[in-house]
């Protein structure tokens, strides 16, 4: 509710929060929610009738000459007040009914179960072997495929823009439909595998959306190469930004202006070992693709630096999820200057000398595929598909260079792509064996297929009008430790923007939900910024692909 200039209460669309997952009981009968919504609307109609009758009574004073009766004026004023105020109350009831219907829709979607059964159909085999058929038949098959995909995409866009259901739900439904059609379209998909940069990935246990994403990596890689006129970026370098330099001014990495890579040959130490020149040396990672659970070789090759990496003092450190998400503003500003990816690691030393870490990973910054900036759609497809992406490797390298100890608590915060990266990292048992991640926040990230490890508190923020969260084609699995908080906040910033999610995160403190409370406690412990005597420093790392 808000207040109009004349002091009367105004009915406005309210912010609605829906929580799934966590230790608390959740029982929903969506038929009951619809019945409740209908009753609220009946009550609203009665209130409108009340207002009309009150108005009629007030008008009768004028019509039938009560003006000379001393009691008439207060009676008329009282009735007029009800005539004005009751319709607003009716509007609130209708808004509440709308909220109930939204919640019914959300809970129905949250119940959607996506199978992982591996069963290509006749058409999938036909598509795969079309190359063996006469040219006319092959062309017909390809054109049919194109028409079908165009139809799915067009219908999805239309549904999102029409607004019959929230954009996230429309995107989720249409992504699921498209994924069902496209899941076996990748080169080797009908044999149960996907080949990403020469590595064979088993997709028999994947979801349709994961299979589809992996199947699209190859054609989009080619698309990227064509866009860049043949230039490829097989390498990856991770370098800490010099803390003395103001953000957005100094570009000290292996990338020139606009992200053009410089020659790294003189920057690497003997044997090309990362970190050999100290914590400020750029770390060049070999252009190899790692299996999802094979980050160990990369981790073993990078020893924690003997000296702590220098940090830049943070005067107003984030004390919760909202302020942590607001750190992304400066990171995105840096991306615009450097042209490459970025991650911020906050090192908090409490009064007892114990260190806590917060890893902040922004979302997609580049709409291309495979260019110098790894925060692009290539990373999106690989991360969504479950293949190791350059950003996973980059964030892992940055965490190593920062010197995060194996038993030091870590909080991970990711927006959009950053949320997928954070979720994919904690899904990896090797990563979790190396780091003590104690809380994860994903904001606007489609992480439905990710199997979050039990015992790790994960909170996923989703704006119901953010279509991006539906790109996984399924809801997040509601578990004891994985809480999804869906927010409907009409009139907020663009739904997918990090600032919108920062605002949503600020609402968490006011929620009386055991899952949310447990996550907030875990996150506060992991970040450590509210500990007495805590001092926080910022370590910013540039992550870029190199030639």
């Amino acid at each position: 509710m808000s207040t109009a200039p004349d002091g009367t209460a105004q009915a406005v669309p309210s912010t609605r929060i829906m929580v799934t997952g966590g230790p608390g009981p959740l029982v929903v009968d969506t038929v009951e929610l619809e019945a409740l919504a209908q009753r609220l609307e009946v009550a609203a109609d009665h209130l409108v009738d009340t207002a009309a009758a009150a108005g009629g009574a007030a008008a009768a004073f004028w019509l039938f000459g009560y003006l000379y009766a001393p009691s008439a004026a207060p009676a008329r004023e009282a009735l007029s007040a009800e005539q004005t105020g009751l319709p607003h109350m009716a509007d609130r009831l209708r808004a509440l009914a709308g909220d109930l219907r939204l919640q019914a829709l959300w809970y129905e979607e949250a119940d959607r179960r996506v199978g992982t059964a591996f069963s290509p159909g006749v058409w999938d085999y036909g598509r795969h072997f079309a190359g063996l058929l006469p040219a006319k038949v092959e062309i017909a098959v390809r054109l049919t495929d194109l028409a079908m995909v165009g139809g799915y995409v067009g219908a999805g866009l239309d549904a999102v823009h029409r607004g019959d259901v929230p954009a996230s739900i429309a995107a989720q439904r249409h992504t699921a439909a498209l994924a069902d059609y496209l899941q076996y379209s990748g080169g080797e998909a009908i044999y149960g595998s996907a080949i990403v940069d020469g590595e064979v990935i088993d997709i028999t246990e994947s979801t349709p959306a994961e299979r589809t994403a992996l199947g699209l990596t190859s054609p989009t890689d080619w698309l990227g190469v064509i866009q860049r006129r043949g230039t490829e970026y097989p390498g990856l370098a991770v370098e800490q930004a010099l803390p003395a330099a103001p953000w957005g001014v100094a570009v000290s990495g292996p990338w020139g202006p606009g992200g053009a890579p410089r020659d790294l040959s003189g920057a690497l130490g003997p044997l090309g070992l990362p970190g050999a020149l100290g914590p400020l040396a750029p770390v060049e990672l070999a252009p190899v693709i790692l299996a999802p659970t094979a980050l160990a070789p990369a981790l073993r090759g990078i020893m924690p630096p003997a000296m702590p990496a220098p940090g830049r003092r943070v005067q107003d450190p984030p004390t919760g999820p909202g302020p942590a998400l607001r750190r992304i503003e400066a990171l995105e500003s840096r991306v615009r200057t450097t042209g490459v990816g970025v991650v911020e690691i906050l090192r908090t030393t409490d009064g007892d000398g114990a260190r806590h870490w917060t890893v902040v990973v922004p979302g997609t910054q580049d709409s291309g595929f495979g260019g110098p900036n790894p925060m692009d759609n290539e990373t999106n497809l690989r991360a969504l598909g479950g293949a190791v992406s350059d950003m996973e490797r980059g964030v892992t390298s940055a965490m190593e260079q920062a010197g995060i100890g194996p038993h030091e608590p870590v909080a991970m915060v990711g927006h959009s792509q950053g949320g997928i990266i954070a979720a994919r990292l904690v899904e990896d048992p090797v990563f979790m064996a190396r780091y003590d991640v104690e809380a994860v926040l994903t904001a606007g990230a489609p992480i439905g297929p990710v199997e979050v490890p039990g015992g790790l508190p994960v909170l996923s923020l989703e704006d119901v009008e953010d279509h991006t969260v539906g790109f996984d084609g399924q809801p997040n699995t509601a578990t004891h430790d994985h809480v999804t908080v869906a927010v409907s906040a009409p009139g907020a910033h663009p739904p997918h923007h990090w600032l919108t999610y920062a605002g949503h995160a600020d609402l968490l403190d006011g929620l009386d939900d055991p899952g949310v409370r447990a996550w907030l406690s875990a996150n506060e412990r992991a970040m450590g910024t509210t500990s007495p005597g805590a001092r926080t420093e910022s370590l910013v790392f540039d992550i870029g692909r190199t030639r």
Partner: protein
């Protein structure tokens, strides 16, 4: 959730303020009664708690509106009596 919500079946002659005010009271009572049947029975969870809290606030406001309308009706009755008195004096005069 199959029980029917109460519906007002009385029609009022609204030619006087008294009747119109009574009809307003009747309608607001109907709203209050319907809201009394809008509490969740099966739904459990933080969403249900938030809904119940909001419904409680609105139901209290509807009850308060009913009280105000009853008070206004008392004033209407008084005003009507005064009107009749003045009319009688006017006729007498």
């Amino acid at each position: 959730m199959r029980d029917e919500a109460p519906v007002c079946l009385v029609t009022w002659d609204e030619s006087t303020s008294d009747n119109a005010a009574l009809r307003a009271i009747d309608a607001v009572i109907s709203a209050r009664l319907v809201l009394g049947t809008a509490w969740p029975r099966v739904w459990l969870g933080s969403g249900a708690r938030a809904y119940a809290q909001e419904l409680e606030v609105i139901a209290a406001e509807v009850a308060a509106a009913e009280d105000r309308l009853r008070a206004a009706h008392t004033l209407v009755v008084a005003a009507e009596r005064e009107r009749e008195y003045h009319l009688a004096r006017g006729l007498a005069g």
